[in-house]
Symmetry: C2
Subunit: 338 residues, 2 copies
């Protein structure tokens, strides 16, 4: 605070002014502020941090081996976190982890935490049980996780936000059944991820509940992205021996890929097959046919996660926090009554 000593006070006082401490008379405050404004002075962040202040940075870790760029949802996550953090005067350091098992990637992530570059981290797209995340939590770092359900793990520095897949899947079945669909297939997401697995499990549960039988060849593997939906649909169509009347896609991106494949086979949607998915991401209304899908408010979810984490960084926390969000069916043009 050398320069601002021009105000005729000590650096201690300047520091007190900057940090808005109460025991500074208005007169002194104003005098110092004037000099600060005038000289365009901003306190060096490294100095502050070293002296014990938080660095005011959140780490955002996007994990996924697919091409991030193509995934619209990812973008939505990133901007929501950045904007929410920004509203509290925090910054965001974003990292992309292509492979959470790669030693170099692991080291880089740890480095960010241990170097104290960030006050807390947020993980998106990780497997439900990810050793790297568990290690970080064990080390005591504050970690926000989108999409996780780990029994018995309830450390106060683990902050989880989930989408209520069970309720969402119920709504889907209610709708599909009402449209008289009985032959239903599923294009799965990544089963290592919490929602990936539960969407499938709930699919099985619901089929049972509605007294429908699961046809194994209508259950296709996938990875939440467009490409995997395209491939899954292709393998389904190649078989040609009986198609379901309705398909549930674990994500809109998967549905997009499926649409592309069906297009190539000259299938009409929803006339030949109905398709419904989860997410309602930003392109889903624009595609042809517009997707009927479960709207999940990811922007709001990430906003609350981010805000919660910031408040924990600043005020501490002593209990496990888990947030759960519902979803709404958005009916557009990809499903038909039969």
């Amino acid at each position: 605070v050398e320069i601002a000593k021009l105000a005729g006070v000590s650096r201690s006082t300047v520091s007190r002014v900057i940090n808005n401490y109460p025991n500074v008379p208005k007169k002194t405050h104003d005098k110092v502020m004037k000099v600060i404004e005038e000289y365009n002075y901003f306190p060096n962040i490294s100095g502050r941090t070293l002296a014990g202040k938080s660095v005011h940075v959140l780490g955002l870790f996007i994990v996924g081996s697919f091409n991030i760029s193509v995934d619209i949802l990812t973008n939505q996550f990133i901007s929501s976190v950045i904007e929410s953090a920004s509203s509290r005067n925090y910054h965001v350091l974003t990292s992309i982890i292509r492979n959470a098992k790669d030693p170099t990637s692991i080291k880089n992530v740890k480095e960010v935490f241990f170097q104290k570059r960030i006050d807390a981290g947020i993980f998106v797209g990780a497997a439900n049980h990810e050793p790297l995340i568990e290690e970080l939590i064990a080390e005591g770092f504050t970690i926000g996780i989108f999409d996780q359900e780990l029994k018995g793990r309830s450390e106060p520095n683990r902050i989880v936000v989930n989408y209520d897949t069970t309720e969402g899947t119920e709504k889907i079945f209610h709708y599909l059944y009402g449209l008289n669909h009985r032959k239903i297939g599923i294009l799965n997401g990544d089963l290592k991820r919490f929602t990936g697995l539960t969407k499938y499990q709930e699919f099985v549960n619901m089929m049972e509940k509605y007294d429908l039988s699961v046809n194994p060849s209508w259950v296709l593997p996938g990875d939440f992205n467009e490409q995997s939906g395209y491939q899954a649909m292709q393998t389904l169509l190649k078989k040609e021996k009986g198609l379901p009347t309705a398909i549930i896609a674990a994500s809109d991106s998967i549905a997009f890929g499926a649409l592309r494949a069906m297009n190539e086979y000259a299938l009409k949607i929803p006339d030949d097959i109905s398709i419904i998915s989860y997410d309602d991401h930003l392109m889903s209304a624009f595609v042809k046919p517009a997707l009927t899908t479960m709207h999940v408010d990811y922007t709001e979810m990430m906003r609350q996660l981010t805000l919660k984490i910031i408040s924990i960084v600043e005020e501490g926390n002593d209990q496990f926090i888990k947030m759960m969000f519902g979803s709404e069916l958005v009916i557009r043009d990809s499903c038909k009554k039969i």
Copy 2:
């Protein structure tokens, strides 16, 4: 480096090991490294920075008043910068600037620089002449700019990467003219931005060169995003008095919006109108009809910009740097010979 003193050497030596200085015998090096590995030690970044090292962070500033989330290109920019920086062991602090004129936003951006949170900044989506950027450059900060052309400004800390709009527009006209289109309209981007303006200027130039006359009611304003394309196309269609046979959209997003509007008017593309655009972003191949567009390798552009900036941060620079990239026509299904 307290803890690592367990290695039985001074902190000076540990520091020398960490920074890989040459004057350390292999034996000492190994001994220290062993302790470091063992204790999971990473040097505190604030300490390093305060002692004179660079912070190893780049600032990425995305300016745009539209909803970032919807813009697929933005995502591509962000990931390219993050991944390129990551390959050189740099991190990226991303900020979204909704309004570059807003005093609070301006202050926040300046703060990031003056606080020394970052070693350099990269701006994407700013107006060609943006006072905030000019001020930062005048202050001596290293600034990378995507899309700018300012006569006479050639400071060594201004690093510019541009897309060669002139050549791109020539290719478009060559193609459209070859398809016998003579009645050509344009859906403009943001004219405050360099490519926005030049796309329009080159449109006018080319019309003249091909001896075609510009119909003012076929020149529509826009802002590079989907929504503006939708609106522009709507106002064009509402008039109903004579439509062009071909339309050039200043971006794929604009073309998407236009497609949506044309769809509502039950126009068939490319049978009723041909449409061609710039960008070739990641959804353009998937839309119906697949877009014929100028492919610009933004990922590579941002990669080179990022790498160049990092090398300047590390090694300095004494001359103005400007990079220019070309584009290639990708013919898909949205244009037709008439």
